[in-house]
């Protein structure tokens, strides 16, 4: 095995990290904050990248970074309990230790979005990988055009980051549109699939970057709704999710056609994966 394989960035060797805080976002989703080692062995990453999180003895799961990547003191992840590993991560409490490898992958095209309108379209847990984008744009707000954030959730109780959504709602430099798939009559917000918000949006369709994350069918529907309206196909980016194992493009578990989602993604230009997204065998 070559020395280059075990790169100095320790991405193949988990680094123990301490949980400094944990909070339940919903019944099945939690956010954990990890203290970044002073040694700096784990990079903070960039918006859209992920880490492999290892609750000792159970295995690893690829979890996107959901916090502010400019904050060098901590790394934040939001995880939905879908299996034993993610459920164990969600049960972690302050003081617990977790193994971390990463960060991995290609992130969102923040630099490309400079000078343009930014349209963030999130569905369900998909808001977590996009939250760092929102932080990045807000931090350098004048470098971007309008910032539109669309967020669709299943029900009110499934909405992530509710305190932060309320703060964003109050801002004049961010246009937030939330919608639920279903609600009772006490809900005063919007109801409908997130794509139903798109036709009425006002932004520079020919000079915008769209970043979408959620179920694949939601991202396809988003692109299908936007492309005929003047949004350029090379300005739409999606984040793909596949079963990751090595996270370094070696094992092939996350192969998606000619791509390895772990190293060629998880963020892809939509034009690069649009055909693959409709191939059933992949």
């Amino acid at each position: 095995m070559s020395a280059a394989l075990f790169h100095a960035d320790t991405r193949l060797a988990p680094v123990p990290m301490r949980v400094v805080s944990a909070r339940a976002e919903t019944e099945e989703t939690a956010t954990i904050v990890l203290e970044r080692p002073a040694s700096g062995t784990i990079a903070t990453g960039v918006p859209g990248q992920f880490n492999m999180l290892w609750p000792f003895g159970l295995g690893e799961a690829a979890i996107s970074i959901s916090g502010d990547t400019a904050d060098g003191s901590r790394i934040v992840h939001t995880v939905r309990a879908v299996g034993p590993v993610s459920a164990a991560i969600g049960r972690l409490r302050a003081g617990d230790t977790l193994g971390v490898r990463g960060p991995f992958g290609i992130g969102w095209p923040i630099d490309r979005a400079r000078g343009r309108d930014v349209v963030v379209v999130a569905g369900g847990i998909g808001l977590a990988p996009l939250r760092p984008v929102i932080y990045a744009v807000l931090r350098d707000r004048t470098a971007f055009g309008r910032l539109l954030v669309l967020y669709g959730a299943r029900q009110a109780k499934d909405m992530l980051f509710r305190d932060e959504l309320a703060q964003w709602e109050a801002r004049s430099d961010l246009e937030l549109f939330t919608t639920l798939d279903t609600a009772d009559a006490t809900w005063t917000g919007r109801v409908g699939f997130v794509t139903a918000l798109l036709p009425q949006l006002r932004f520079q369709r020919g000079n915008a970057v769209v970043m979408a994350c959620g179920p694949e069918i939601m991202m396809r529907a988003t692109a299908n709704a936007l492309l005929p309206t003047g949004v350029r196909v090379d300005a739409v980016f999606v984040s793909m999710e596949r079963n990751m194992k090595c996270a370094a493009g070696l094992c092939g578990h996350c192969q998606f056609g000619p791509h390895f989602v772990c190293k060629d993604g998880p963020v892809f230009p939509y034009g690069r994966v649009r055909e693959l997204m409709t191939v059933r065998e992949i």
Binding site: G152, D184, P215, M218, A225
Partner: protein, 153 residues
């Protein structure tokens, strides 16, 4: 003072429609206002109008035993409210409740259908506007019922 036709022309649904057609359909329109909480129409009632929403939001609701009133869709400014006027028996399938104060143009359904029958070019123009919206809503409704944010079983 702006005429009804000039006001209607500014609504997203009407943008780009031939001026003469707008003048014609404006004869079927009136300004309406609904205060928050008011039901604009009820399930089972005759669809004697359709609406172009100017301000405020409307919730489409359906009542189901055990579940109570469920909101299936909300509509807002620059959207249309009501498709039942297009298709016999012209009966609403949902309740429509103003969740905020709502201002809208209400088009008399009988008047509009009469003008479409009299001048099929107007009818065709309007149908070309309605059908994409209905299709978009159908596609969105399909995704809603798929419950795509639920855990994969």
């Amino acid at each position: 003072m702006k005429t009804m036709a000039s006001l209607i022309r500014e609504h997203l649904f009407m943008v780009g429609i031939d001026e003469n057609y707008i003048e014609t359909v404006a004869g079927c329109a009136r300004n309406v206002v609904y205060s928050s909480g008011t039901y604009i129409f009820r399930e089972g009632s005759i669809a004697n109008a359709f609406f172009l929403i100017r301000e405020g939001h409307v919730a489409l609701e359906v009542y189901a035993p055990q579940l109570g009133n469920r909101v299936v869709q909300t509509l807002g400014p620059q959207e249309i409210l009501g498709e039942a006027w297009l298709v016999p028996p012209y009966v609403h399938d949902f309740d429509a409740r103003a969740t905020e104060n709502v201002r809208a143009f209400a088009f008399d359904a009988g008047c509009l259908r009469g003008k479409c029958e009299a001048d099929p070019a107007i009818g065709y123009t309007l149908m070309k506007r309605f059908v994409p919206i209905v299709v978009q809503r159908l596609q969105a409704a399909r995704l809603q019922v798929m419950d795509v944010y639920a855990k994969a079983s």
